[in-house]
């Protein structure tokens, strides 16, 4: 088993350990450090009971985000501040703990530390508190007991207690408000002295780990036995624009995509769209590189990037090549890339002309669920006439699919119910959904049609009569 030295702050303590770099952070916390406030429930990112904070030193401050520690490799914690419930506790209750207790926002208590970590992170990361955002911040935390309303009441009260408190120094303010303990003030200083052991990818392994949010769900045991390359160490997290090209590093997380001002110009609804993807702690760790490569036929980011007609830059560390995303998938989980290649970045040509974008996703549960069917559409029109169109669809074929024939049919036609109806007939010939736990084949066929209708209805309400479309 390979080991390497990892250094980070765990709560108020410097950790400097020889560990298996693929050890899930949760196992280190609970089994090696015996900090049992962080709970294990699903071990696949789906419940939030294991939520901890991860603080990263930036130029001006330490930026905290929530992650689900059960599927987060400890290697990715290097040089960071990991905070568990024990790391925020003081002798007396913190403000947010006090209010949770007052509202009885905890019954069996198993979910509670996870909720409080999400809440604490929300309070650390924001200045202008809003209940919708606070709810979004705990959206990845499942509670089986309370029915959530006591939790929502608690969130409202916490916001009420902290509103109208602006300050240049967030940490200082929250320490004063009894939201975090005193030692947080020194974290910035302390992190800057930690030797970050970057670029320790000595072995040339073709097992790539980015956020780990997929790998640690699929094959946690195998990971402990194999050498891996931790791609996050290559600093592949960036979004910038170079003339007409948007360049997104493959290590960019879903949440960074959601917050990107550059992308929001192309996709004005990006915040709401990405909210339908996973939960905040997952979005904080899941990367687009992972989403594209895991080749799930229903990957949300993949479907979005496909409709944007993206290209991928593949590299084996030495050579690079560019291929179209729509050509990346050969068959179910079969990719055109070689074993040694990884995705370095994604390129999007900034659309010119009058372009509109829409993303639709329906799953069993609206939030924090994998799609039954998803679809994205980028469309360029001249008046009513469709000049160019890219509709992608997930969950209807073994691979995420660009609906080439359907798109072809649309081009040059005027937008109307009849055009859509005929195009949908073409669409049915190029999809082949299967029945599985996310829905029957029949359902998925019908659903995709509805989602394509929804694209048009949303983007061209003046051209489509609601009554006629259904």
């Amino acid at each position: 088993m390979n080991k390497r030295k990892v250094q980070f702050l765990l709560n108020n303590t410097l950790i400097s350990s020889e560990v298996n770099p693929s050890l899930p952070l949760l196992d280190f916390i609970r089994k090696e450090k015996h900090l049992t406030g962080t709970k294990e429930v699903c071990k696949e990112g789906d419940c939030g009971a294991c939520t901890v904070l991860l603080g990263t030193l930036t130029k001006n401050s330490v930026v905290y985000k929530t992650i689900t520690s059960c599927i987060y490799p400890i290697a990715n914690c290097s040089g960071k501040h990991v905070v568990t419930i024990e790391g925020i506790n003081k002798e007396d209750l913190l403000l947010q703990q006090e209010i949770f207790a007052d509202e009885n926002a905890s019954q069996c208590g198993f979910c509670t530390p996870g909720f409080l970590m999400s809440v604490t992170c929300y309070l650390l990361n924001n200045t202008d508190y809003k209940i919708e955002d606070a709810i979004n911040a705990v959206g990845g935390n499942i509670c089986r007991c309370t029915g959530y309303h006591s939790i929502i009441r608690a969130l409202n009260n916490i916001i009420y207690e902290l509103k109208n408190n602006s300050s240049n120094d967030r940490v200082q303010l929250l320490v004063a408000k009894n939201v975090i303990p005193d030692y947080f003030k020194e974290i910035k200083e302390r992190l800057s002295t930690i030797q970050s052991d970057k670029k320790v990818n000595t072995e040339k392994s073709s097992l790539f780990i980015s956020g780990g949010s997929d790998l640690f769900v699929q094959k946690p045991d195998m990971l402990l036995e194999e050498e891996a390359q931790f791609l996050l160490e290559y600093d592949l997290s960036y979004i910038y624009q170079n003339y007409d090209t948007i360049i997104i590093g493959s290590g960019t997380t879903f949440e960074e995509i959601k917050q990107s001002p550059i992308l929001s110009k192309v996709i004005p609804t990006i915040k709401n769209d990405i909210d339908l993807v996973a939960s905040l702690p997952i979005r904080n760790s899941a990367t687009i590189g992972g989403n594209l490569t895991n080749a799930s036929p229903i990957g949300d980011l993949t479907i979005i990037l496909m409709a944007l007609n993206s290209e991928l830059v593949l590299t084996d560390g030495i050579n690079e090549r560019i291929i179209k995303l729509s050509d990346f998938y050969l068959d179910y989980k079969k990719l055109i890339k070689t074993n040694d290649e990884y995705i370095k970045e994604v390129l999007i040509q900034v659309p010119k002309g009058e372009l509109k974008f829409s993303f639709e996703k329906v799953s069993k549960r609206t939030y924090l669920d994998i799609a039954s069917v998803n679809s994205a559409m980028l469309i360029e029109v001249d008046g009513n006439k469709i000049i160019n169109i890219f509709i992608s669809a997930g969950g209807v074929a073994p691979v995420p699919k660009l609906l080439k024939e359907t798109n072809q049919y649309f081009i040059g036609k005027d937008i109307s119910i009849d055009t859509i109806d005929s195009a949908l007939a073409v669409m049915q010939t190029e999809i082949s959904p299967i029945s599985d736990v996310r829905g029957s084949a029949e359902y998925k066929k019908i659903l995709l049609g509805q989602l394509v209708k929804a694209h048009f209805l949303k983007l061209f309400p003046q051209l489509i009569n609601e009554k006629e479309i259904v």
């Binding site: 029915g147 029957s440 929804a454």
Partner: protein, 767 residues
Amino acid sequence: MKSSDVIKHVKGESIFVDDMPVPQGTLYASVFDSKIAHGKITKLDLSEALKVPGVVRIITYKDIPGENQIGNIIPDEHLLAVDTVEFIGEPIAIVIAETEMIAKKAKSKIKIEYEELTPITDPRDAYEKGSLIIPPRIFSMGDVENSFTGCEYIIEDRVEISGQEHLYLETQGAVAVPVEGSGIKIYSSTQGPTAVQSTAAKVLNLKMHQVEVDVLRLGGAFGGKEDQATPWAVMAALGAKLTNKPVKLILHRHDDLRMTGKRHPYSADYKIGLSKDYKILAYEVTFYQNAGAAADLSPAVLERTLFHTTNSYFIPNVKATAISCKTNLPPNTAFRGFGGPQGMFVIESAIHKAALSIGIEPYIIQKKNLLVEGSKFYYGQIAKRVNASKCWNEAVTRYSFDSIKNSVEEFNSKNILKKKGISFMPVCFGISFTNTMMNQASALVHIYTDGSVSVSTAAVEMGQGVNEKMINIASKVFSIDKVKVKVESTNTTRVANTSPTAASSAADLNGNALLFACNSLLARLKKHVAELLKLDDEKNIELVDGKILYNENETELDWNKLIRSANQHRISLTAQAFYATPDIHFDKKKEQGHPFAYHVYGTAITEVTVDCLRGTYEIDSVKVVHDYGKTLNHAIDLGQVEGGIVQGIGWMTVEELVQDSKGRLNSNSLSTYKVPDIYSAPKKLETYFLEDSENPYGPFKSKAVGEPPLMYGIGAFFAISNAVKAFNPYVDLKYSSPFTHEKTLMQLYQGRKTEKERSKITSSEIG
């Protein structure tokens, strides 16, 4: 007022089984289970697995010192499979190793071969083949057959009800430690410490006094740890016994989902008859319960279905037949409501369908048939202190039902792609274990010389706040500060022969026992005060806020002084008390009696919006009037109602158990089995505590609250149905839960005519 448990929870300091520091030398167990739903084991080869370094022992049925039997109601379930397996997930062997990883690894090296037999997964199939757990039971009153002839409307249909995964956040688990005298101490996450104790004794061939079971708290249970915590605790104990080392066994989530039973799926046929003025005259129903491969608690669950067949309604002629069908699924088990919800879903479906075919709103039928004071249940009990109409009427006025209705109608006439639906869901739920014998509890109270109080009862804390309620009771009787009272772990050496914490009754039964114990201490203390202060009238002595009053005047004594003095005067500061619910009985031969101490009533109004383009929905609001009696703890009771509603809505909407015909669970993880998240909760959730409700059977006139609210969630199903119908009047609604997004979309468009088609029809009609 903060609950003492919750203060620990918010700091993450509460200890659950998996959090306990393990004793030195602890070994870890992992369970090897059947991969097929039905078959004979032809070969089991452990040799490769035993070679894995760090493996200490692999246990099979052959190693069991006592009986290989864990069946509770019926002895029909092996702890470890012998030569046949009857469900996927059936335990076959236990690997004991130095670490969890090693145990898991060794497990993957066990080789097994089977001769596969055809599994049964459908309860009707099982019935056809005569595969039953117990003979069918029939509850009846009046003359159903003949009364249908006098009915104006008769409706028949079939109803399908899916199961539900408990998804307690803490998975099943236990730690067993060998103790001197060949005994075992088990720390278990169980609702039934005595069940664990007696089963472990049976399997390990020990006396019950050699097995101590200790339960601190559970990270959720919902019935899933009433009977099904037992096997894992017993396996850990078996491991400890055979290796003479402490053994820890915590199920991984995937194992828990695959191996443990769930809420029972039911299939049912009904026939309902109504008079011209919508009185239900006759109701005949047959329930096919999917029990899974062993009895577990299924017969008791079945019985509760029979007791809740007519929900909140009085029906003069009833015939309910219930059949517990044995299939090749993991044995299904208790789950909040315990069969009651399934019974209620069928009658609500019948009323809904009847209303649609008559062409009236379902609530007209519902309201018309509500139970009244003195109504006779078909199982013989006379309904007393009936609050059915009171809750209903309060809901109608408090929540201005008329204006809800108007706004929904207006919304639906203005919107094409969104439709709203509303429903009423009245609930009447019987309180007491239907097995009369189980309605007993005891409590043990110590007052220490510093005035602090220690309480032990049979109740297990699992998030329902029973500990806090016990603290409320003791601190109220002694009139001392809550912090002076501590509730101890539930332990079989302190409180013996306990009923499980179940049937919503733990606070009632244990609270009453505790009340007795505290009152007897109080009497002793008062007597001592009288002696000490030379007062002749004990009656006028009162304990108030830590002070001792006589004729409402303060005396020189306070609580602490009194306790010290009592101890000095050699007065026992310990009391034990026992409670058995009075007045209840049931004759299983006649299927008649008075099984419940009382009933809990309530009414919910649910409003939903369906997105008719995408086939999705949102629960806008659930507005409830609930009969709590005189609540012991407002915050806890509110939490039970809110949590129950959302769990019930989950059962009716997003929670879909997907099983294939080979008995394999495909919704086998949290990524494929979805429970409500914060966004699935109703946008609005209002709860009103019915006033003027008292209950002579509850401590301080309170009522049980754990299970009944779950059934308000059933309203979501019918609200969605109504919205779908508003969009697609042509739909032939399916009464098949859960109402998933898939079913919503399919029914929105089933048989629906598009605008074009409709205009064609009208023009051809004109032409």
